[in-house]
Symmetry: D2
Amino acid sequence: MNLNSLQNKIKEFVDERDWDQFHSLKNLSMALSVESSELLEIFQWAKEDEALDSKKKESLQDELADVFYYLLRIADKSGINLEQALLEKLQKNAAKYPVDKARGNSRKYTEF
Amino acid sequence: MNLNSLQNKIKEFVDERDWDQFHSLKNLSMALSVESSELLEIFQWAKEDEALDSKKKESLQDELADVFYYLLRIADKSGINLEQALLEKLQKNAAKYPVDKARGNSRKYTEF
Amino acid sequence: MNLNSLQNKIKEFVDERDWDQFHSLKNLSMALSVESSELLEIFQWAKEDEALDSKKKESLQDELADVFYYLLRIADKSGINLEQALLEKLQKNAAKYPVDKARGNSRKYTEF
Amino acid sequence: MNLNSLQNKIKEFVDERDWDQFHSLKNLSMALSVESSELLEIFQWAKEDEALDSKKKESLQDELADVFYYLLRIADKSGINLEQALLEKLQKNAAKYPVDKARGNSRKYTEF
């Protein structure tokens, strides 16, 4: 399924419940942030190299889905093409982080 | 492009820069949360029904791309199928939020 | 009780449980962010001017305490004086947001 | 200075700028979350045991101040006593995390 079809599936789900009235971009941005934090919580006390056990993997799948849901919803409501946005960002980042400077380096481009 | 191709494009970008060493799930979950918050910041003082001007729309596109980037990266690194995760979640939520109870209602299912 | 005494009370609580080993600044910053998001969640679908009912007020008190706990803990672990940090920041912000320019205006100082 | 005096100092700063109109609890909770995330960003790619260099310490002090500012503001606007909230929470947590069970253990109390 492409991103457009996924967005429409979500829109249908929302419209059946008459939830669009709550879906201002402001509210959706809050929901996205809340869900991202629930994903963060999974790794809160984890060691850096800790393996993902099956229980955490299940939680992770759940939270990834929630973040994706709101991400698609925001893209839909704001008329932004998510795939194109990603591809353009990769191009911008390729310019900001040229391979020779960025290689093996986690610093922000402003600190090169 | 499907999600798999987008994930591979990102993987290539990351590998060229030898950044995979920084991409533990813990670090990626932090990055996802940071980017979601930058998206949240766009609407921080906005009125609920405020229209999206072109400057804010551009920022929003940028931040949507950043969130999507880390979302795809986490899915890739954890071996979770993002599309399937979303579809399963919609099914779960359809059960938790049956149309007759959830209609026009923003309460959490635990408060029905 | 002053901030120092509160920090020491928390330190005692932590030491009794031998939790200091988990309290790297990185982990504490994740915990702070997770708790702030739980506070955010309380207002997720709220109307801007919605009154705080007693149930939400109780949740809010809980989450404020959690955020304060980690804030004091991070200040303690990093040797930063929280009160002084706040007072210095107010001075900086008074310069960035002079009364005549900032009055009744929610824009960031970079946009004046 | 006690917490009350700090809250009043902030209130004065806000009132001089006529910013109270933007300080709904909803907006303040967004601001708190955004600032917590800026603090999180400092440690985004840090190693667990990485020392805090002077540049990062300065950023940390700045972000701690911002989080504290909004925390005090929310407490003030909601009429919640922050010190008391913390002390009550420590008591609750002492019951949830008894020393003998919690010792050296980062699990959530629901997983004991």
